[in-house]
């Protein structure tokens, strides 16, 4: 049996809400089937008030063994380093205090969502509550915990980043930990099983991308990279390989990928739905392609755009179907 404690720090609770969208099997059954016992979860458990406090104290003082600590939400350090912008109600102590005490007892610590991983939206726009991630402050190593901090198992905080997290990212990380399997991490401590993919992979707008047939306004079905701020070619995530809520994803919904799995996505220094350009050329092209090659191929393919693709790119649905080849 693997024990799991879930704390909600300074966030919106949306990663829990997303987790409950897991299907086949559902989230509760999936944890149970993997031999994971939920000691306490703020949205799901019976215990409240004194009952919950007793449980948290048991874990913090080592009377109950903790295998996995999941933290959802950033850590509010303000005002003035006190953490009092988020008190754990009924305890007279900050959430910052409780996470520090309990993480020291955990074999594995999982940051669920971009807030817990890097600060996320809670740290946006001047960061009013002085929020940080568990082991990162934005893209910089060292958040609530120092860069060399390690949990009981010897590993760093596992950053299941995303805003929100896909239910599969969370359940699969937890199942791997419960099975004693290693979770390989990328350079931002995100599980590689989803962070080795780009949101671009499997995006239904790929044909438009190939020809740089670009949407000019939201609701046009063309590629959103050139004008509408889409960063799917650079953002990590398998969002278009295993879709959300049945068959969705941001780009399938007709709006741009805003790179929500990345540190500091919350402050892009331009409007989210607008691509910044220098001399008409988008800045921030795909990271692992020489810029000159990209520009050469883009101008070639743009010139070669078939009528069908150009027309559809500026419509809100397919208006020109594919040309049918008559069988010989």
């Amino acid at each position: 049996m693997t024990t799991l404690l879930w704390l909600q720090a300074s966030g919106c609770g949306g990663c829990t809400m997303s987790l409950l969208c897991a299907e086949s099997p559902g989230a509760i059954e999936m944890l149970e089937d993997a031999g994971i016992r939920l000691l306490w979860h703020p949205a799901l458990s019976l215990e409240t008030g004194a009952e919950a406090r007793a449980l948290l104290e048991d874990v913090a003082e080592g009377r109950v063994a903790l295998d996995i600590l999941c933290v959802e939400g950033a850590i509010a350090r303000g005002p003035a380093g006190t953490g009092r912008f988020q008190m754990l109600s009924g305890t007279g102590q900050s959430l910052m205090h409780w996470v520090t005490a309990i993480a020291a007892r955990a074999r594995h610590v999982v940051a669920v969502g971009t807030c817990a991983a890097y600060g996320g939206v809670t740290a946006a726009g001047g960061n009013p509550s002085d929020a940080v991630g568990l082991q990162y402050d934005g893209a910089h190593p060292g958040g609530l915990f120092a860069p060399d901090w390690r949990s009981g198992s010897g590993g760093p905080v596992i950053n299941v980043a995303g805003c929100p997290t896909h239910p599969g990212w969370v359940t699969e990380t937890l199942m791997m930990l419960a099975a004693g399997e290693a979770v390989a991490l990328d350079g931002m401590a995100r599980p590689r099983f989803y962070a080795d993919h780009l949101v671009h992979h499997g995006c239904p707008k790929n044909e438009f991308y190939e020809y740089k047939a670009s949407a000019r306004d939201l609701s046009e079905i063309g590629c959103m990279m050139e004008n509408l701020g889409c960063i799917g070619t650079q953002a990590v995530g398998d969002c278009n390989i295993r879709p959300w809520n049945g068959e969705g994803s941001c780009t399938r919904g007709g709006y741009p990928c805003i790179n929500c799995t990345a540190p500091q996505f919350e402050d892009p220094a331009h409007a989210f739905v607008e691509t910044p350009k220098i001399a008409g050329i988008p800045v921030g092209l795909p990271t692992d392609m020489p810029k000159a090659w990209f520009m050469a191929l883009a101008s070639l393919s743009k010139a070669a755009t078939p009528t069908r693709i150009g027309a559809n790119a500026h419509a809100d649905r397919v208006i020109v179907p594919p040309t049918l080849r008559k069988p010989r």
Partner: protein, 473 residues
Amino acid sequence: MTEARLVVGPFNRVEGDLEVTLDIADGRVARAQVNAPLYRGFERMLEGRDPRDALVITPRICGICSISQSAAAARALADAMGLQPTPQGAMAAALIHAAENAADHLTHFHLFFMPDFARPAYAGRAWHARAVDRFTAMEGSAQRAAVAARAELLHVMGLLAGKWPHTLAIQPGGVTRAPGPREKARLAATLRAFRRYLEATVFGGRLEDFCALPDEAALMRWPGGDAALFLEIAADLDLRHLGRGAGRYLSFGAYPGAEGPAFAAGIWDGALRPVDPALIREDLSHAWMKGATAHPLDGMTEPDEAMAAPGYSWCKAPRLAGLPMEVGALARQVVDGHPLALSLATGGGVLARVAARLLELARTQIVMEGLVAGLDPGARFMAQGALPRQGSGAGLVEAARGALGHWMRIENGRIAGYQIIAPTTWNFSPRDAAGVPGPLEAALQGTPAEGPVPLAVQHVVRSFDPCMVCTVH
């Protein structure tokens, strides 16, 4: 005389952080104080940004009312732009919003509210074994069925909104994705499956029959589903008389369409009257906030880092014409004039709030079916507009938990001020300068409070379905 002070926290199975301080005399709550102990400062984060960024930032206030925040921000932007969504775009946005609200009602009933009746303290009650079987936290058969049904219902989001929570699909001019004929067929299939679940499991009968119940007496005889189990418990524990509110209800009106909203806007305090948002003020006297009482267009959010008395919460105290207002499904259904809701409002306590939520769940399913039937896959789903350099806008919507307002000021093409009043800001507000408690604080007075974690107090608090992350934001 106060005999004891009890601090209940962490108060879980609410969305977000909540602490309730109770002064107890003669085994009852003499005075209650509600504290929202989390401050993030969303209104400050928005200052200086491109106004459209509100559509990315504000949904992330809350993972359970995310679409409501989207809808309010989109409406505030549209107001500032002088833009109307296309009729079909408004319908698709209403459908997305209604699906979130229905999912939230389901989550509240099964995951947040009902598990308390499975507690050992109720062992020996005629219904206890059934409550344990159906609603034990994380194990009850009704809980698991509700989580599964909710996940399937939210396929509406996968089809129309990309994902849930946190979508950019709802825009000032409509929605970003135009559903085609096959999406329409698939949406109808998803809703038929959800109706099958509601009728077989939650209601044990036809939704139309539940919606036709004329009054509370008829409701209490409803025979089917987990609704009947709740009603049996409510009768046995006299939840009608527990946690009675002040009987003043506010709704901004839900799901606007060509012929007005599906659920009407207004206030009700014994009679129905129109709502005038110009009469809203936020009182900061008992909040850890600096500044004067103001209308949200003139309001500010400047936290008092010393957290000085008499402040005791990060929550401001909104008042309409100087009075606290109760918001939520009960308020919405009362203002809409539904006979069952009007009858329930004579009790106005835990039974009324929870039963009105069930009524609204049934009515919302019927609203969603109508919206899907009316979708025209050939129409335009989005209108384009331009943002003003200077201007202001208000977006008033109904979240699952009640009236939600966004007020935005734009200067030099940037957000100069952004104020939000969320449903639980109304319901769980602290006292105002006149010492008048917020709706929950008032409803808790006189509630039995035995033991370290009084059950009656939990029923009252959860009957409001608080969303604390929205409350302070």
